[in-house]
């Protein structure tokens, strides 16, 4: 009797425990509840919410600070870390970009290069081999018709879609943190449209290798990028052949050989960092390990035609038996692999190794302590300041190592640190051009009709997305973005956007102020500076700007200045700029009857130094 009674109590106790932990969610049972130490730093809840939004999103949307406060700051952050919010609105906006869901094979078969199309047209007898100079127009027309018939598109259309989808996502994705990190990792594992060989594969690279892993484990990112065609072609590993391999021996073609480019950059830029303690020998040995890592043939006239026949003849099973590996667009050509023994960073790789030793190498690099520090530092620079405190970086590196490269763990250690909330860190970062553009559009609740128009502005401000030539990616420091020319372009961007001179977006200035029309310049400044930059004290700005924007006491001064400055008049008579037009489209409501111009107030706020900071 006594025993069963004891067991019953025990059973009930266990059941209660299970019920309690289940109600708190599976993860929270093993992790203490997160608390953000912003009060100690002297921030109100509103200011703290604004800081979170400034750092972990592309900028707050009107009303979002209040929404985050209501949801609970920690709750909001965890939700962003999960990155799984419904995206129905976003997907509707993305529908216009039809190539977004295509495979690389579909892409290369549609976006064909001119040389390819020419060859096909000649093979099909559509073009005679010698009909070139004489009848140029007819020749070009025939080629165009051939392209249309087959549904071939020029590559600039693909680039438009690539850039357009990123801008749309930056402005509208509910999983803002995932989008911010996607850009961060794309930059870290940079590839560039400027390199012809890899440009068409960048869409899939971002979609398949980067975005799904952006909030996951670093090692998964590393492996996915290493095996993606974009990276294999950008850093030349696709062509690397082991000096000691059967493929090399067969051809005796001295053109083919070991290519160390990727091996070097994977250590220098992707994992250990340039001071991470590797030597030139390590680079060479790593390159030998990665021989054979290449691209599976894609498309009718795609890459790898040299070995396509061999692959088709052998068949998947025989190839697998001989150590070849194929998944998605990645291929390991065992006959190109250098099977000798190697040593990298003190680790010995026995002779006879194949595909697996490459994975072992990447695993080793991703778990190296130098990698933890290198990645932690980069993340700290992105989210805290250009010169993050070393103690913080160390703590984040520790979180990286202890959690096997779990990026969420690193972010949690960052956001719960006192350094993140410290007065020196708040608003210490300067927005990149992409961040400036996206935060402007979000702050205005804009409807982006044609995202690609913004690419020209991004270029002027110094950030042509996807076009940074070197594997280092865009530098993440204010000094790079803020220089005289770029600064003027930022101011002009703000003015042009607010004035409705950028055709790509529509917005309603009065609506974001609850349809309340400010009665004076000072009113407008007070109202809109709070909307654009919540959680900040804008008194100084308002004080300085009010006299300048209030027309009545300044009209004479302005007239004098405008008359004086003949060059000033000439300057505004620019040649027509295809980016902007002067018509006030009916979708944009911004003029009021007051003696100041609301659009001008907005433009100045968007170009103001305060709005350049996040």
């Amino acid at each position: 009797m006594k025993n069963t009674h004891r067991y019953t109590v025990l059973l009930v106790g266990i059941l209660i425990l299970i019920a309690v932990s289940a109600s708190r969610g599976p993860e929270s049972a093993t992790r203490p509840r997160m608390r953000f130490p912003y009060e100690k730093a002297g921030l109100t809840k509103n200011e703290a919410a604004a800081h979170l939004l400034n750092r972990f999103t592309y900028g707050p949307v009107p009303g979002q600070v209040d929404a985050v406060v209501k949801q609970g700051l920690e709750n909001w952050f965890e939700q962003q870390l999960a990155g799984a919010l419904p995206e129905s609105d976003l997907n509707i906006r993305l529908q216009t970009f039809d190539a977004l869901t295509w495979t690389n094979t579909q892409i290369v078969n549609t976006y064909r290069r001119n040389g390819e199309v020419l060859r096909m047209a000649r093979a099909d007898g559509v073009l005679k081999n010698d009909s070139t100079e004489d009848d140029r127009k007819a020749y070009r027309d025939q080629l165009r018709r051939y392209r249309e018939q087959h549904g071939f598109r020029p590559e600039r259309d693909l680039t438009r879609q690539l850039v357009g989808q990123k801008i749309v996502r930056a402005v509208y994705s509910p999983d803002q943190l995932r989008e911010v990190l996607t850009e961060f990792w794309m930059n870290h594992f940079n590839v560039s449209v400027t390199k012809n060989a890899c440009s068409r594969f960048i869409l899939s690279y971002e979609r398949d290798a980067i975005r799904p892993n952006a909030l996951g484990y670093f090692e998964d990112l590393l492996l996915a990028t290493a095996q993606s065609p974009a990276m294999l072609l950008y850093l030349d590993n696709f062509s690397s052949v082991g000096n000691d391999s059967s493929a090399r021996r067969k051809t005796n073609n001295r053109r083919r050989g070991l290519n160390e480019n990727y091996a070097r950059e994977v250590m220098e830029l992707h994992t250990l960092g340039v001071d991470g303690g590797y030597t030139q020998t390590d680079v060479t040995e790593a390159a030998r390990i990665l021989t054979g890592w290449t691209v599976y043939p894609m498309g009718d006239e795609g890459f790898g035609n040299g070995y396509k026949k061999m692959l088709d003849n052998a068949g998947e099973e025989r190839l697998a038996a001989r150590g070849f590996v194929h998944h998605d667009d990645f291929l390991f050509l065992a006959n190109r692999h250098d099977k000798g023994e190697k040593t990298v960073l003190g680790k010995h790789f026995a002779a006879g190794g194949g595909y697996e030793e490459g994975k072992t190498l990447l695993h080793m690099l991703s778990r190296h302590p130098a990698t933890a520090t290198f990645i932690a530092r980069k993340i700290a620079i992105r989210f805290v300041s250009d010169t993050p405190p070393p103690a913080l970086v160390d703590r984040m590196a520790k979180a990286f190592s202890e959690h096997n490269g779990d990026i969420k763990a690193v972010l949690r250690s960052l956001v719960t640190s006192s350094e993140f909330w410290d007065g020196h860190a708040v608003r210490a970062k300067t927005k990149s051009p992409v961040e400036l553009m996206a935060s402007s559009l979000r702050a205005l609740n804009a409807d982006v009709k044609d995202p690609y128009i913004f690419f020209a502005w991004l270029r002027r401000m110094g950030q042509p997305l996807y076009h940074y030539q070197a594997p280092t990616g865009f530098p993440d420091r204010a000094q790079y973005w803020i220089n005289t020319g770029a600064l003027l372009n930022r101011m002009n961007f703000g003015l042009a956007l607010a004035d409705g001179r950028i055709r790509g977006a529509a917005f309603d200035l009065l609506a974001i102020n609850g349809n309340h029309e400010p009665e004076s310049a000072q009113d407008a400044l007070a109202a809109y500076s709070t909307i654009l930059m919540p959680g900040r004290n804008m008194d100084e700005t308002i004080k300085r700007l009010t006299p300048l924007l209030t027309a009545h006491d300044l009209q004479q001064k302005i007239d004098k200045a405008a008359a004086h400055n003949n060059a000033g008049e000439a300057l505004t008579m620019q040649e027509p700029d295809s980016l902007t037009d002067d018509t006030n489209s009916p979708q944009i409501r911004m003029e009021t009857d007051s003696d100041y111009r609301l659009a001008q107030v907005l433009g100045i706020l968007l170009g103001s130094p305060e709005f350049q900071r996040r």
Partner: protein
Amino acid sequence: MITRRAFLKGGGLTLLGMGIGGVPTFLTRAATMNTVQPLYGKRNVLVCIFQRGAMDGLMAVTPFTDNHLKAARPDLFVTPAGTNGDKALLDLDGRFGLHPAMRAFEPLYREQRLGIVHGMGSPNTTRSHFDAQDYMESGTPFTKSTDSGWLNRAAGMLGHEATPFQAVSLTPAMPRALYGDQPALAISNLKDFTVQSKGSPKGAVVAARSFEELYDQTSSALLNETGKESFEAMHVLQQVDTGRYTPGYGAVYPVSPLGNALKQIAQLIKMDVGLEVAFAESGGWDTHFNQGLPTVSLHATWPT
């Protein structure tokens, strides 16, 4: 943090020698010679073009009688006899030959208007392109913590108060070589270098004034200083006509980033706004693989 005023007062050389970087001896000699005269005459302009990637100097100007080079690069070695008929080096002086892709420079050399300095480079043999580039621009190989660039420090030694246009880079971003305390401008397009409010000239004036006011009082030092430099430069430009520019001697600049940059440098020089140091870049010199074979190419994307 060394302020510009302190730098000029203290005498550029001493501060330079104090540990930012070594002082080239030709500069010390020139500076001690005659302090009344400025170091460079107002009319002299230094135009610095950085070939990023970088250009392989041994292939651009080859010491073709050097057997060590021949042994080290059997497949890339070219002589005036050439590997294919049309790939012969242009023999400059019996010892050095110019790569055929650069034949446009040959007449300048023959007229003794072009000097070529060979065998010059960084003592740091890092294989990292990016570190090597950084060292070239900071001017301090082996030291990564240098904040400033060599060109900026050199501009500070010109011996007179700087004008806003003393140092200009025709690039979208400020190159590392021009980081530092001397005011320097980065402009990619002269036409755009103004506050624009199309259809509203008064609006442009109001906006410009407002921005100038705001940037003057912002707490961010970088935004504050850059803003000041922008507006100073803008006011200077407003006094001259940046409209259509016709190059002299019927020169036709190629439509490329480098071509546009050089054209605007020429324009700035002629505008007499005090330009003394100009910077431009040319990219794509990184020949990653198949350099030289079967035809000897110098640039990653040039047809051979």
